[in-house]
């Protein structure tokens, strides 16, 4: 049993545009339907605002904007994935979220380095499962406060 656990990683899979991404289940608190988001002025443009998550005011990030993918209107399948990290609680707006899947560790490869693509630091690796390609995200980098503050400084 332990042997098996070592070789597999449980991840939540979600969709942005045509690509599929994965986050480890340990970091995910819950998946919420779209709800009213209160805009917070003077923040980075990918910060959508805050929601009331059962009494806790939680910041929301639009992952499309964070990854510089063109915006699209919210649909019925749009979800907010609540992620916990280092005492931070942040919601990620994604196009759709699917079930938990087991990714065998041997299927994970480091991010491909190809000339002509923009280097992004928030990708931990890529997992190939049958015909699906899953992008594993490094949450620490995605939620790096550095960028929020940097943008804030320019504006303020």
């Amino acid at each position: 049993m332990t042997n098996k656990a070592k070789q597999e990683m449980k991840a939540i899979v979600f969709q942005l545009k045509d690509e599929e991404y994965a986050i480890s289940v340990h970091q995910v608190g819950s998946i919420e339907r779209m709800q009213h988001i209160t805009r917070v002025p003077q923040t980075a443009d990918f910060v959508k605002g805050v929601i009331n998550l059962r009494g806790v005011v939680t910041p929301i990030i639009d992952l499309r904007k964070r990854f510089s993918i063109e915006e699209s209107p919210f649909t019925d399948s749009t979800r907010i994935i609540i992620v916990y990290m280092d005492n931070m609680e942040v919601g990620l707006v994604v196009d759709a979220a699917y079930d938990v899947i087991d990714i065998p560790t041997e299927a994970i490869e480091p991010p491909p380095e190809v000339i002509g693509t923009v280097d992004v630091d928030y990708i931990d690796g890529v997992a190939k499962l049958d015909s699906r390609l899953l992008i594993l995200l490094n949450m620490e980098k995605v939620l790096s406060k550095h960028e929020v503050n940097e943008l804030h400084q320019i504006e303020g």
């Binding site: 009213h36 209160t38 805009r39 917070v40 002025p41 003077q42 923040t43 910060v47 605002g49 805050v50 929601i51 009331n52 009494g55 806790v56 005011v57 939680t58 910041p59 280092d86 005492n87 931070m88 609680e89 942040v90 939620l143 406060k145 929020v148 503050n149 804030h152 504006e155 303020g156």
Partner: protein
Amino acid sequence: MEINDYIEVFIDESKEHIQSLNHHLLELENDSSNIDTVNEIFRSAHTLKGMAATMGFQDLANLTHQMENVLDAVRNKKVTINSDVLDIVLEAVDHLEAMVVDIANGGKGKQDVKKLLQQLRSIENGQPTATIKDKESELASTVESTSTRRYQEKSVFQTLDEFEVTVLRESEEQSFHNLEIYVRLREDCLLKAARVYMVFEVLEQAGDVIKSSPSVTELEEEKFEFDFNVLLVTKEEAYAVQQKIQKVSEVDEVVVSKFSVEQLLNSDNSIMENRDENQQSHANNEIASTQEKTSENQSSNRTVITNKTIRVNIDRLDALMNLFEELVIDRGRLEQISDNLNHSELQETVERMTRISGDLQTIILNMRMVPIDQVFNRFPRMVRKLAKDLGKQVQLEIKGAETELDRTVIDEIGDPLVHLIRNSLDHGIEPPEIRENKGKPTAGMLSLNAFHSGNHVFIEISDDGAGIREEKVVKKAISNGIITSDQAKEMSQSQVYQLIMESGFSTAETISNVSGRGVGMDVVKNTIEALGGSISIDSTVDKGTVFSIQLPLTLSIISVLLIKVQQEKYAVPLSSIIETAIVHKSEVLHAHNKKFIDFRGKVVPLVSLKEVFDVPNTRQEDEFHSIVIIRKGDKMAGLIVDSFIGQQEVVLKPLGEYLSNVFAISGATILGDGEVALIVDTNSLIKTK
């Protein structure tokens, strides 16, 4: 009988005694002839020693004991108190405190105090002529221990502290029986501790165990032969108690006898009589006055503890507060629903509920209030030490230490205050020579004053030092690039003083290690503003400086005015609002691309919240502007909003770690409809520069 049950009480009480030691020692420094103060110190040290010994903290007991000897020598005028002696005694108190902290953290309270013990001993024996007398005095201070040896045959309980004496006396007055019980277990008894436990259970059903010999700990650890003595206060008769104990199996012998406090005290006094007259009368007086005072103090203390207050873990209060916050949110929702439905019965009920929950809120908030003394009490020591380090003479005056503040504010306010005091001592109060030249008393005056006013608490830190030289501040600010010389010309006095709080500003020509490098004052300002308070400075050259801090009574629930900007809702804290107004567009004055209004004869600048917050345009502009007039200190500004929704009590919630430091937003709150509204930080909308 669990020792752990007592350890918290022990720690709390020890802290109180150490605080009182600190307090009185400093008092003694000002008035070294006051024998009452010495007695007070002696009493604290003595109680501390007794408690520490009972709890088995030997180092703590030894150190207090040696301190007690020194104090006794002082009391008997064999050693005169001077600054050096006090330094060592205070150092001993520091060690005591460290030990207690260690015990509180689960340690054993061990410290290396050999050197200190030696120093204390050498003070005690400071005057060679008094060596013999000193021995005598040591005898006096350890009256209890000698008497134990001498009167062994009478009663084992000669070492009673004042508290125990008081309890025993009280019980005598109330016709309880004070019984001394001797119990011997059978020699083939295997589980001695278990039998002891059973005996104690019987005793505790009958009355209160005051003391046992050996101590309870030792009994539990089976550190006794086969017999032990217990002092019991009970309503039951001696024979009844005896029979009950004998029912416990493996008990060999039980002797119950009456115990008389008077007898014990008389025996104490008889020792006194052996000493020379002078000392005897002194000691008698001392004992008499001590007992009078303690019997009053202790008995009243005791009733307070048992009847009037309970210790509650602060976590529980926090939990209660959180639940209440939820309730406030739901209350807001209910109010909204009842307004929409327009159902009179429902509205009445909701109104009633609102009133009750308002009362509940007052009570819960009051429960969380703590006197500011908790912060102030560490300052006398600090000021004394700093003044010594700086070679200055400073008198500290504390007023309003009983003023109460929310615990969360208390936790935060300590560091800023420390910084302001350091600042006053370092930059404010001049060295004695300079003061003399200026015709001021050599000792500077530093006073701390706390008081309530309205919904706020004010803390003032004032000194009679050099004051702030405006031109010096301005010059410095210009050279540090904080302001330009053009700006400087237009600045008022209070604006200049505020410059001190800007980051990167430090007026002391030489950087001392007491007050910092100009990083401190802006931290002070930021901390206070983060608490929803403000700080202002007033100063007269050569007369002194006053730092005045204004703090809200509580942090978590505030009254706000809800407003609407386009489709977005914002909350403006009521505490910063002067009033609201509706003005016609034509009344707005334009000057230099800025908008102003004439508000009651004053020209007030207007700030459009829509522009500041980049609110998306969704509606036509009205002919009229709705304006919220806000203030910060003596400055005012008008916020242009679209409509007023109304006043509401809301729960302040942080925006979360991810979005810390958003401009002009101090937090968020959850409205009745479940949506989040942002709370406007009006302070950052008015510039002080």
